[in-house]
């Protein structure tokens, strides 16, 4: 036997070390402006007193993460000064000395230890089926591989440059603690996470309702509904004090300095448009597409006057603010209402019938995906918030595995435009193939059979065609110069079909569970 037995965990460090080597070898790859963003934050937190952090605006990339993340950068900056002091000078815009690159890359790789630890905790909490003797066939091994080698995290963190590994580590650790029944720790970790990056607010409804329902109420009625008399005020106070003390630690100093409005204005900039420069594959991408199609059709049929149409909608494509020409424009409050409506049934469902930590996890994934589908100015990277936690469910149930394959493959493919440089094209294709091949073969083996129907398979194979069309054929064609935005548009619209489909299927599986539960009671 070339591989060790399953009962010792020596394979886990090997898997983690392997991916760390992969990250290290990407140190000299392309990095986006996010690299400069984080360098600037290092410089700001290092050079200025706390009171200046959220006022400083030498660079256009001002600090727009919550205070705990600023403290995190502050801590990093103390290590950074041993690599290259120049990177800590605020005026040194777009500073990329080799030592700076090395330090920033290594800081992401090292803080990923949190993620690695969290993955290990998740793997320990996975339900185990008896039978398979082969290490590679165990759900916990597959989960570890799916999480550690996640394609999205690799390219977003270690090529594009961000600190998601560390943040998702905290999220997964919190989920693992809930799976292990250590709810207070889970709540603490999530509060810390919220104070590191506020995008996780989107999944806070799942946390709030779950903790209130399953932790503060200690007992259920026989039909699974809440027994009001079992409410435990002590638990609520414990939870509340954790949340309040962490937030006080984070925001307290700024409240004391009277800077809260300034901080909040940095955290929630509503000046940005409905969609990011590249449309995330969500409902609004489809909405924009329909609008565009209608306007083109309208012009063709002479129902519309070209001169009256908003300019941006016809000429550009990569403009910040997309102006709708036919359909009504969408305001932030409408997206908020849509998001809330989309997650409402899932949240209500875990209130009525909690189904333990796994029910909570499903609700969390739906919240993440719902906000991705309907949110304001969503980044394509946000899909990882659904994909990573969903991996845990995927190794436990056959149906989830099928949805997972649809969601990850389209979601990961939709990240391709993040890396647009020619030199990184082979890397992203190879890594994507690596992850996709592994996820398909391992899950298929785990559940002994095909997980997708022919239509789904055809759709996923279509991604190959889209990729060839967008990155090989189109750049060679004459339209590249006249209509440069078409590949992005096609990618975004094609992927949004798959993501929407996964979202609907996820909902159907949740409602069906509700249905069967009701049926059982009758």
């Amino acid at each position: 036997m070339a591989t060790p037995r399953a009962d010792d965990w020596s394979w886990f460090p090997a898997l983690a070390l392997g991916v760390s080597f992969m990250k290290c070898i990407l140190i000299n790859a392309y990095h986006s402006t996010d690299f400069e963003v984080h360098r600037n934050w290092l410089a700001i937190t290092h050079s200025f007193p706390v009171s200046e952090w959220y006022h400083e605006n030498t660079s256009e990339w001002t600090l727009d993460y919550p205070p705990l993340f600023a403290w995190f950068e502050y801590g990093l900056s103390h290590v950074a000064q041993h690599f290259d002091k120049e990177m800590l000078v605020v005026q040194n815009l777009i500073y990329t000395s080799p030592a700076t690159v090395l330090f920033q890359r290594l800081s992401v790789i090292v803080t990923d230890m949190v993620f690695i630890y969290a993955v290990k905790e998740c793997c320990r909490s996975v339900r185990e089926e008896k039978g398979s003797k082969d290490l590679l066939g165990h759900p916990f091994f597959i989960l570890a591989a799916l999480l550690l080698w996640n394609f999205g995290l690799l390219i977003v963190d270690h090529i594009h440059f961000q600190y998601n590994g560390f943040l998702f580590g905290i999220l997964l650790l919190s989920v693992a603690r809930h799976l292990q029944g250590r709810h207070l720790e889970g709540a603490l970790l999530f509060t810390v996470l919220l104070n590191l990056k506020h995008i996780y607010l989107y999944i806070s409804p799942a946390y709030g309702i779950f903790l209130l329902r399953s932790y503060c109420f200690t007992e259920d009625n026989t039909d699974g509904s809440v027994r009001w008399s079992s409410f435990s005020p002590v638990r609520l106070v414990a939870l509340g004090s954790i949340v309040i003390s962490v937030c006080a630690l984070s925001f307290g100093p700024f409240i004391a300095m009277g800077q809260l409005p300034q901080v909040l204005s940095r955290l929630f900039p509503f000046k940005r448009g409905l969609c990011h420069a590249y449309w995330a594959p969500n409902v609004w991408a489809l909405y924009n597409m329909v609008d565009k199609a209608l306007s083109v059709l309208g012009v063709r049929l002479k129902l519309l006057d070209v001169a009256k149409l908003p300019k941006a909608s016809m000429t550009g494509g990569l403009v910040q603010e997309f102006q709708h020409s036919i359909l009504p424009s969408v305001s932030p409050s409408i997206t908020l209402i849509c998001t809330l409506l989309s997650i409402m049934p899932a949240v209500l469902s875990i209130w009525r019938r909690p189904r333990g930590a796994r029910g909570f996890l499903r609700c969390l994934v739906i919240c993440a995906l719902g906000s991705f589908m309907f949110g304001w100015h969503v980044h394509e990277k946000a899909i990882l918030m659904a994909i990573l936690p969903f991996s845990i469910l995927a190794v436990e149930s056959r149906e989830d595995a099928g949805i997972f394959l649809m969601l990850t493959t389209t979601g990961h493919y939709s990240l391709f435009p993040l890396l647009f440089t020619a030199a990184e094209l082979p890397i992203k294709v190879l890594l994507m193939l690596l992850f996709t091949l592994y996820s398909f073969t391992s899950l298929k083996k785990l559940f002994r059979g095909s997980l997708l129907n022919p239509l789904e398979t055809t759709y996923l194979l279509g991604l190959v065609a889209v990729e060839i069309l967008c990155e090989v054929v189109y750049p060679l064609s004459p339209w590249q110069h006249t209509l440069p935005f078409v590949p992005l548009l096609v990618t975004s619209v094609y992927c949004s079909l798959g993501v929407s489909y996964s979202f609907i299927r996820l909902y159907v599986s949740l409602l069906r569970q509700d249905g069967t539960d009701k049926h059982k009671q009758l």
């Binding site: 070339a2 290290c24 990407l26 066939g137 073969t441």
Partner: protein, 507 residues
């Protein structure tokens, strides 16, 4: 999981590592007027595309041989021509005569890197997969692990995708030769090997074992009957392949002589730069280069090389099995590296290829050798700005080969075939040789790490500017010499009966 998916994953990992290394710098980047091997390869494209065949190897006004003149056999030139045609399609500036000299750009780097990847994907990688699946022993998982470890060997990745060369073509063709011979397709095997020889003359290091194995096989089949037929078949294949490769040059003997003269530049001396072979290491003690005349050096090195190869070749001739063949390949190419004339540090890749083939049989010595071989090229990597990929790929290879091949657990005297040493050391106190080897391995890896660190971090003393490169090459030389002895002893001494039976059982 099925085999095909595990193999695909291994291959994808190997490819990703290769491309990630290729994002780094190459030899001579931004260093006019001579640049480096990258420019040499580009220049060959320029020359072969723009000049007629009979001018390729000659010094003319359009082809100044002092500036990276072609000094590889015709197949390299044809390959350059092929690449040049593709380059011309993409951007004619890349191969413009004279004007393109020293051309460097983002797009061109990408193109050059892609040509290496394509060649690797077509030639080397399939050969590795075939070899591991059909010619190595053990369970399927073990075979997959072998594929992964061979593909992750850092030396080849760093030289081809960092420094910039096409070793994967010559080594890949040689490996196809091994696969052919191993599977009993002797004619195809010799065809592949002749092609590899015609791609890079350094493949001569491997030629003697190929010759001895095939001749030995003919002897075994009886020179009066089938053996003779086989011999004729192989001889005809070799001659015809050679003739085809050299066809454009055969019309004029002057052409052939000039090409041969370019391939074997005898005038360049016993060694250049720092290389981990006998002559360079000996030079620390005795200044051979000044004592002996060039001719004497040549004969001297030729004699020592032949003497060093002789035992393993005779043994192979008498017993032409795959196991003997693989070891003879190591012994022959390593002897050439250590003793022959005009050796470059990159030539260590030639012994490294057959050592890769032993990863499955003798994990620890093979890993040890491969690490030392990568380490021996450290000064080159530092010059090319490949420190980060060197560190990462070396650590990754060390960890994964030791972990996946269970190198430190298969360390008993039997597994390491240390029987003959035991007999030699009969007077010594009884001790576990396997454990001694293991400790030596730990010590050597630590020393390599230490020397690597010192080469990077410390400034050498003013009177000894070459201190670190010299230390690196002498230290690696000691490894190579020790392992040459070891592999020779393993080859000459038959494995004890019990070990062989056990092996059969475990299959």
């Amino acid at each position: 999981m099925e085999n095909w998916s595990l193999v695909s994953i291994s291959v994808l990992l190997g490819l990703t590592a290769r491309w990630a290394v290729s994002l780094n710098s190459y030899s001579g980047a931004g260093k006019p007027p001579m640049f480096g091997d990258y420019e040499a390869q580009r220049h060959w494209q320029e020359v072969t595309y723009n000049l007629p065949v009979h001018e390729w190897y000659f010094n003319t006004t359009d082809n100044v041989l002092n500036y990276w003149g072609l000094d590889y056999p015709p197949l390299t030139a044809y390959h350059s021509l092929l690449c040049a045609h593709v380059a011309k399609l993409i951007n004619p500036d890349w191969v413009e005569l004279h004007a393109s000299r020293g051309h460097e750009s983002y797009g061109h780097k990408l193109f050059m890197r892609a040509t290496v990847l394509v060649a690797d994907l077509l030639i080397y990688i399939p050969a590795v997969v075939l070899y591991s699946f059909y010619l190595s022993e053990g369970s399927n998982k073990k075979k997959v692990c072998t594929v992964l470890c061979i593909l992750l060997y850092p030396g080849l990745i760093l030289i081809d995708y960092g420094h910039f060369q096409y070793n994967s073509i010559s080594l890949g063709l040689a490996l196809w030769g091994v696969v052919g011979l191993g599977l009993g397709w002797d004619v195809l095997g010799s065809l592949a090997f002749v092609l590899s020889l015609n791609y890079k003359q350094m493949e001569l290091y491997h030629s003697l074992p190929f010759f001895c194995y095939l001749l030995g096989k003919c002897f075994k089949q009886g020179l009066a009957g089938r053996g003779l037929f086989l011999l004729v078949k192989i001889a005809v294949t070799v001659l015809v392949t050679f003739a085809l490769c050299w066809l454009p040059f055969l019309s004029d003997p002057g052409q052939v002589l000039q090409v041969v003269h370019r391939l074997f530049p005898v005038g360049r001396g016993l060694f250049e730069d720092k290389v981990a072979n006998t002559w360079c290491s000996l030079n620390v003690l005795i200044k051979i280069k000044t004592i002996l005349s060039t001719d004497t050096q040549l004969y001297f090195s030729l004699t020592t090389t032949l003497l060093a190869i002789l035992p393993s070749s005779i043994k192979l001739l008498m017993k032409p099995t795959l196991w003997q063949f693989k070891l003879a390949l190591v012994n022959s190419s390593l002897a050439f590296f250590l003793f022959s004339f005009q050796v470059h540090e990159k030539s260590i890749l030639l012994p490294a290829l057959p050592v890769c083939l032993l990863l499955n049989d003798l994990p620890l010595p093979a890993i040890w050798f491969l690490q030392a071989s990568t380490f021996s090229m450290l000064p080159l990597f530092l010059k090319d700005g490949l420190l980060v990929p060197y560190v990462v790929t070396s650590l990754a290879f060390l960890f994964f080969s030791v972990y996946l091949l269970l190198a430190l657990e298969h360390c008993s005297e039997d597994k390491l075939r240390l029987g003959p040493y035991r007999r030699l050391l009969i007077c010594m106190p009884r001790m576990d040789l396997g454990r001694v080897i293991k400790w030596k391995f730990y010590f050597s890896i630590t020393a390599m790490a230490g020397l690597s660190f010192m080469s990077v971090a410390l400034a050498p003393p003013a009177q000894l500017p070459d201190l670190f490169p010299l230390l690196v090459s002498v230290f690696s030389y000691l490894h190579f010499l020790g392992l040459l002895l070891y592999f020779n002893i393993v080859q000459i001494a038959e494995p004890p009966q019990s070990v062989r039976k056990n092996q059969k059982k475990s299959n």
